[in-house]
Chain length 185, copies 2
Amino acid sequence: MNFCSHCGHTVRFAIPDGDDRPRYLCDECGTIHYQNPRIVAGTLPVSGSRVLLCRRAIAPRKGFWTLPAGFMENAETTVEAAVRETLEEACAEVSIHGLYTLINLPHINQVYMIFRADLAGGFCAGPESLEVALFEEHEIPWDELAFPTIERTLRHFYADRGDGHFPLHISDITAADRERYFGSA
Amino acid sequence: MNFCSHCGHTVRFAIPDGDDRPRYLCDECGTIHYQNPRIVAGTLPVSGSRVLLCRRAIAPRKGFWTLPAGFMENAETTVEAAVRETLEEACAEVSIHGLYTLINLPHINQVYMIFRADLAGGFCAGPESLEVALFEEHEIPWDELAFPTIERTLRHFYADRGDGHFPLHISDITAADRERYFGSA
């Protein structure tokens, strides 16, 4: 951020009076530009014993497999965001069971929220997917998953599936976890 | 938003190519300025049979009672945000049990996440609170609560406390709910 989005003046990065962390400040109009984490909402769509995955057609991690998920938009709910992303990326309608993983990624200012869901009908590759397919557990392309959040959600699912109890799992992924996963990418 | 925060050029509000909703666009440097919901993280601090509430010293809803909660910051986790807000507003340390209410407010682009917690020691009014106190159920100032999210979280708590089972409650608060609560404020 270089300029004030309200008045166009240059901003400076400093701690406002009464605050405890630096913000982008406009000395011209007085606006404090707060920046906050974004929610990535998505689903784990299940059909019988199989799970739906999408192969990404766009960066980052083009060509790798993911669960349908994306940035939550203004004016929608978390469930609406998860359902919309599933429709956009996999042309798939789902019925939502509940929030399944909540994963904080503080180094990139994201919070993942993945809902467990039942696939309600067909599917196809949306514009952001190269292909969409259903996988049995032994078919999951573990070495070709797009993000550590996706691997973690799938690991929880297969661990929980034995007794059919799917509690919410809250956890964090750090920069170090991400580096182990991606290399330095 | 009137100006591009990257290059200072004026922005226009229009649907980008390949998108389906309007964004602030800079024709000079090509930046698309996405805007996304913010997370409000907080706790429901419990001490024996009592619940901790804070009376707000700042707008909005100055003078009304709330659970300690506030906007999640970049570079922290949801739990860290909830713990920090509790320390800032009530000078209180807590141990977190789990996510208790997740409430979408799509009309104001917020997602509330309140964690159930045990109060670990003392408390006092932080700079954003006029006073902080513990309440038995019959003492809760239902008509002087700051926000419908707070009332809803407390109602769930007292309904669940009977059998000691506190599942995650996901729900939405709409503009209509908010108007019933606040009047037209």
